[in-house]
């Protein structure tokens, strides 16, 4: 039954259940605006902007599964790149989904190919999330990394 295949694909492939991959969690990344991101967008080299956009919001159950606490660091990896972020617990984020505020950090893991539409897929990106000891780069370091690639 093909219809079941399609429903199942959403259920298993995308988000609902937790799939362990190399000690990490298969997750779906959604980027978007946040009040903090918007408030400091005219002051991108500030500490406040850094704090607003270098984070990810994760469901507490998923945090428990990954043995991470608020403020710990995780590495999110997609086909297109990886980025290290600080964790914020948020029970309003469903399990299997990770929210990253729009900005330079989120953009490390976004596909620049747009399937001919001009619009990158900024939301609903298959990714893995794992605990890491690597540090979160400063905004400047991050952009230098991109430039010198």
């Amino acid at each position: 039954m093909i219809r079941h295949v399609f429903i199942a694909r959403f259920i298993t492939g995308h988000c609902i259940s937790q799939v362990v991959v190399n000690m990490g969690l298969k997750a779906n990344v959604v980027t978007g605006r946040s009040l903090g991101q918007g408030s400091y967008v005219d002051d991108k080299l500030s500490k406040e902007y850094f704090e607003a956009v270098s984070i990810c919001e994760v469901n507490p159950e998923d945090c428990e599964y990954l043995s991470i606490e608020e403020g710990d660091r995780v590495k999110i990896t997609t086909e297109f790149g990886s980025v290290v972020l600080s964790v914020k617990k948020n029970k309003d984020i469903p399990s299997g989904v990770v929210f990253v505020p729009m900005g330079p950090y989120a953009n490390q893991i976004i596909d620049p190919e747009t399937t001919g539409t001009g619009m990158p897929q900024f939301k609903g990106i298959d990714a893995t999330i794992e605990k890491t000891d690597e540090k979160v780069l400063e905004v400047n370091e991050l952009i230098e990394n991109v430039i010198s690639r």
Binding site: I2, R3, V5, F6, R9, T115, G116, T117
Partner: protein, 238 residues
């Protein structure tokens, strides 16, 4: 005599070569071909400024493109006969509005391969981008005839608004295969993303896995729809 083009240097901004088709270059002298005009960004340049042009033994009306043509756009646009052989990748709009003849790409093609083509055959040994055989924004119909054969994968919007013709993909296809398609046939040997949405007619066969919108209705082991469009399209799976 066949005409052979290869890039003199790596391109910074793309070159648009609409107008450089076999029926135009065929029978011309080397000098005449070199002095044909193409667009290099906002400059109009002579073909010979960008490409090494040579005449070789070979079929009449054969245009050989040697090397990486991925920054060459509109190759074979509206061509009405003859042959183009690309030994390498090719840029967007290759074979768009094609009316006849053959294009073979021994490499990858980009977006809008064979978009709104009417007749002729396009073969690609690698992958193609999005909008293969599709309609341009605002157009009523995509591909109206002819054949597109992809040995690799296709991007999204494969055969969007396709009216007639045949597309075969040996690999996988992206989302919205046959979106608003009204006729013709698409065959995908691998997997595809969302398939048959807003379909009005025509037939799509997917040998691998595919994802159907809820608006296709199962009838005798096939899927018919899109029922929201009163569509009579058919999707055959497995």
């Amino acid at each position: 005599m066949a005409v052979k083009l290869s890039l003199k240097t790596e391109l910074d901004v793309p070159v648009e070569v609409d107008g450089i088709v076999p029926s135009v270059v065929g029978g011309k002298t080397l000098e005449e071909i070199q002095s044909l005009e193409v667009y290099h960004g906002n400059r109009v340049v002579k073909l010979g400024e960008i490409f090494n042009v040579s005449l070789e033994e070979g079929e009449e009306n054969l245009l050989i493109c040697e090397g990486d043509f991925s920054k060459v756009k509109w190759l074979g646009k509206g061509m009405d006969g003859g042959k183009i052989l690309v030994r390498g990748n090719v840029g967007p709009h290759c074979g768009a509005f094609m009316k006849g003849g053959e294009i073979t790409v021994e490499g990858h093609a980009d977006d809008y391969l064979g978009a709104e083509m009417v007749e002729g055959v396009i073969t690609v040994t690698g992958n193609a981008g999005s909008y293969t055989g599709a309609a341009y924004h605002g157009s009523m119909n995509g591909m109206k005839g002819g054949k597109i054969l992809l040995e690799g994968n296709a991007g999204s919007y494969l055969g969007e608004k396709m009216k007639e013709g045949y597309i075969e993909v040996r690999g996988n296809a992206g989302d919205f295969v046959g979106y608003k398609m009204s006729g013709g046939k698409i065959v995908i040997l691998g997997d595809s993303g969302i398939t048959g949405a807003a379909m009005k007619g025509g037939e799509i066969t997917v040998k691998g896995k595919c994802e159907l919108p809820p608006s296709l209705k199962e009838e005798d082991g096939k899927y018919v729809g899109d029922i929201l469009e009163g569509g009579k399209g058919v999707v055959i799976t497995g």
